[in-house]
């Protein structure tokens, strides 16, 4: 089945964002009629790699060839014209347009600008039927279909265009078992038609079943390309995590056998998060590891009252156990949460550093009878800027004009000024430079030393191994295992992170 000349050949693919290298001289060969899995942990660079192949991201350096011809797509359109189609993790259909209109969106049949509905329906029907989707109606809004079926429509749309290489980035994340099965059958057919497929998935049993070969990336580096038939799931995990000996933190952790409970979470369920229980001691740093989509952010949001949990209780220190229905209640009870997406729901980008730093503490510290004490605000904000070495012209500078790392420092400052008993930190160092990262780690240590409970979510296992006292691992919405430093290793954590996906899904 696999032809000798590769369909796609990628060499020396490198991508740098500023001084950060996310892909370093990576390579990939895909033969016609081959399913080629791209494996790697979070942040290994898989998504960046395929986005470069499909013209969505321009590489810092790359040598690409498609069927022996030089290939360097500058836009998604150019990639599509060359025959490379990508179906990304997030859905790209326009929910209010009909299925048919979505399928043909970039090439709506029209005469003189007037839509030819007959031709539209005919072409759309062919596209769907070819993919075995005879039962999907053409004229309903795409948004009214289930997520899984929308994904199928997208794949059908991608295949209807000139397609020689199809890239599927986590295609089954939103699919039910039945829908996944249908997808696998289609992939089998595509193989027989000689289409090359790049397949990304966390679900290793899918890789074992579908893929011919696998290329493994780790931290932006190329690890190797292997025949999948020769690999067990355990091998794959080991390749992704690296064979290093368990990382140990240099300093000795203080024993905290005497300390009190800062946060007790009992049987919390919320959407995909199922029945999670754990405790954080005062002064303890508990890490939460897991793959993207394992439910870590959802868990934090449920604890913080940002989403309404289905069941369970949250207890802070020895106060009554309850569930919070609004973050205001959680903050009043002594919780603070640094959000994962600081631009979306952490910061007021068009407002000053001062206004952002004091936002959570206006009634508590910076007002008298409802009147703002702006001098005090300025003083507190400047103190935090100094303490964290935030690079800014003054505290009146707008947060949107700061660099990512400095923005994050302002987001942290907001909660330091407010003060809390338990800090929920969701990816506190994502996308920020090394110096800012070190500064934030020092702050986390200071908070823990002051007896605060810390819950730290990070996709960077190394960061968790370095900073945390214990590490809990979530997989597919469940808390699989909690590791102490004596037990943990990158391998063990990765094994647990994949554990929820190894068995057949219940959904």
């Amino acid at each position: 089945m696999i032809s000798p000349t590769p369909l796609l050949q990628a060499r020396d693919v490198t991508k740098q964002y500023g001084r950060v290298t996310v892909l370093d001289r990576c390579q990939l060969d895909v033969a016609a009629g081959e399913v080629h899995a791209l494996l790697g942990a979070n942040g290994a660079g898989k998504s960046t790699f395929v986005r470069i192949l499909s013209g969505l991201v321009s590489p810092t350096a790359a040598e690409l060839s498609l069927a022996g011809n030089f290939y360097a797509p500058r836009t998604k359109r150019e990639a599509e014209e060359a025959g490379i189609q990508i179906v990304q993790q997030e859905l790209n259909l326009i929910p209010t347009l009909s299925v048919a209109e979505n399928l043909m969106l970039t090439r709506l049949p029209a005469t003189g600008g007037i839509l030819n509905r007959k031709a539209l329906d005919k072409q759309a029907r062919i596209a769907l039927d070819r993919f075995g989707l005879e039962d999907i109606p053409l004229h309903v809004p795409a948004g009214s279909l289930g997520v899984g079926r929308q994904q199928m429509v997208e794949i059908a749309g991608a295949l209807d265009r000139e397609c020689r290489l199809l890239i599927l980035d986590e295609p089954t994340a939103a699919l039910s078992a039945g829908e996944s099965e249908a997808l696998f059958q289609q992939i089998e057919k595509l193989k027989q038609r000689g289409i090359g497929i790049v397949y990304i998935s966390h679900r290793l049993e899918e890789i074992s079943r579908m893929a011919d070969r696998a290329t493994v990336l780790r931290d932006g580096h190329y690890v190797g390309t292997y025949k999948v038939a020769d690999l067990t799931s355990e091998d794959m995990v080991r390749l992704m995590s690296g064979d290093e000996t368990p990382a140990h933190r240099p300093d000795q952790r203080k024993s905290r056998s005497q300390s009190a409970v800062a946060l007790r979470v009992k049987n919390v369920s919320c959407g995909m998060v199922r029945d999670v229980s754990f405790e954080v001691q005062a002064g303890e740093k508990l890490g939460i590891a897991g793959l993207v989509g394992a439910g870590r952010t959802e868990l934090l949001r449920a604890i913080f009252g940002a989403d309404r949990a289905d069941s369970g209780t949250v207890q802070i220190q020895d106060r009554p156990a309850r569930l919070f229905s609004h973050p205001a209640e959680a903050v009043a009870a002594g919780l603070a949460m640094l959000t994962e997406d600081r631009k979306q729901n952490g910061l007021l980008l068009s407002q000053s550093i001062r206004a952002n730093s004091t936002l959570a503490s206006l009634w508590k510290r910076f007002s008298r009878a409802g009147l703002l004490l702006q001098g005090q605000e300025r003083k507190a904000a400047s103190e935090q800027c100094e303490r964290m070495q935030t690079r800014c012209t003054s505290v009146e500078q707008l947060v949107g004009t700061l660099s990512g790392g400095n923005q994050q420092k302002v987001a942290v400052a907001k909660w330091l000024i407010r003060d809390a008993d338990v800090f929920l930190l969701d990816e506190p160092t994502r996308g920020i430079d090394v110096a800012a990262r070190r500064r934030i780690h020092e702050l986390i240590d200071t908070l823990a030393d002051a007896g605060k409970g810390i819950l730290l979510v990070s996709s960077d296992v190394e960061e968790l191994l370095e900073t945390c006292d214990r590490i809990a691992v979530m997989s597919n919405g469940q808390l699989i295992k909690t590791f102490t430093p004596e037990e943990w290793s990158r391998d063990a954590i990765m094994d647990a992170a994949f554990a929820g996906y190894m068995n057949r899904r219940s959904s």
Partner: protein, 318 residues
């Protein structure tokens, strides 16, 4: 205020002051009658109604909403005042609380519905625009209620300073509104809500009461505007103030308040009111027809928004 703050304030209003002075200069050069005491006094005594509305509208725009019902609420408040003073022969002081309450309660209703059901305030206040206008006609029986001297004193210039109590109250309201917006926790929350309501929520702040209060304040301003207009016209006219919501929005936008929320300044909105009033009066004195007046006023609004958009872009590239 520190010296730096003073300087910043001067820079902030320099542009609007320049536009205003330019308009005055142009009209003064074109018409002998314009730059006269009587003209300026007449402008000052015409604008209280629009000024009240612009104060409320600025706050509503800052939280990211819009209030289209202000014209109708003004008319309804005025009608309530007329009904009690004419039909029930109450005194002004007895009827006034009901007039103000009418505006505030309707505004509160706007806020409760739009925040409680998460419906865009555009739609809710559009509905209120119709309902309140209908209610006005019910209250007045579609007749203009002539009240007369009992209500006129509020709009008549005081001896000596030539300004009416209505103008003075409106001016104080502007200062109070600016104080509320810039010096209080309430105002800071309003700006934050209009900037990013999700970030406000995740900071542990319940935004709803503040947003609702802003609509109630806008309603209260409609009540005050209703009083101002009734005293100027000596009567409650059920067809009064149709379309004034657009002038109020225009005044805010000319002053640099963002329709997207998160940015606004009550004093700047007052400058917007002045610019609109000077333009109207000046054009009228030049004998420009109503039709052309409309065209020019509309053009000025568009130019103001373009200038503001450019300012925003320059501000970003800094």
């Amino acid at each position: 205020m520190t010296r730096r703050a003073l300087r910043e304030t001067a820079i902030q209003y320099a542009g609007l002051t320049a536009v205003l002075l330019l308009l005055v200069a142009v009209f003064s050069s074109q018409s002998e009658n314009f730059f006269q005491h009587s003209t300026l006094v007449s402008i000052a005594n015409q604008i209280p109604d629009l000024t009240f509305l612009a104060v409320g509208m600025t706050l509503v725009l800052v939280v990211g909403g819009i209030d289209l019902s202000v014209g109708s609420l003004l008319a309804l408040s005025s009608a309530v005042l007329g009904y009690f003073m004419v039909d029930c022969e109450w005194s002004l002081w007895a009827a006034l609380p009901l007039c103000l309450l009418t505006g505030a309660v309707c505004g509160l209703f706007n806020g409760l519905i739009s925040v409680g059901f998460r419906i865009p305030s555009f739609i809710v206040t559009l509905g209120m625009l119709e309902m309140a206008r209908g209610a006005t006609k019910v209250v007045t029986d579609s007749q203009t209620k002539y009240i007369g001297s009992a209500v006129e004193t509020f709009g008549e210039p005081l001896a000596g300073i030539m300004l009416s109590p209505a103008f003075l109250l409106a001016f104080c309201t502007v200062l109070l509104g600016q104080f509320l917006l810039t010096q209080t926790v309430f105002g800071r929350y309003c700006v934050a809500i209009g900037t990013n309501v999700e970030a406000v929520r995740m900071s542990g702040i319940k935004a709803a009461p503040y947003s609702i209060a802003v609509f109630a304040i806008s309603g209260l301003m409609c009540g005050l505007a209703g009083l101002a207009q009734t005293s100027r016209l000596s009567s409650a006219d059920p067809n009064a103030a149709i379309g004034i919501e657009l002038s109020a929005i225009a005044a805010c936008v000319i002053g640099g308040t963002s329709l997207m929320g998160g940015r606004g300044n009550v004093i700047s909105s007052f400058f917007g009111v002045l610019i609109i009033a000077v333009l109207q009066t000046g054009l009228a004195q030049l004998g420009v027809s109503d039709a052309n007046k409309q065209i020019i006023t509309g053009g000025v609004i568009v130019v103001a928004v373009i200038l503001d958009a450019l300012r925003g872009r320059w501000g970003k590239s800094e």
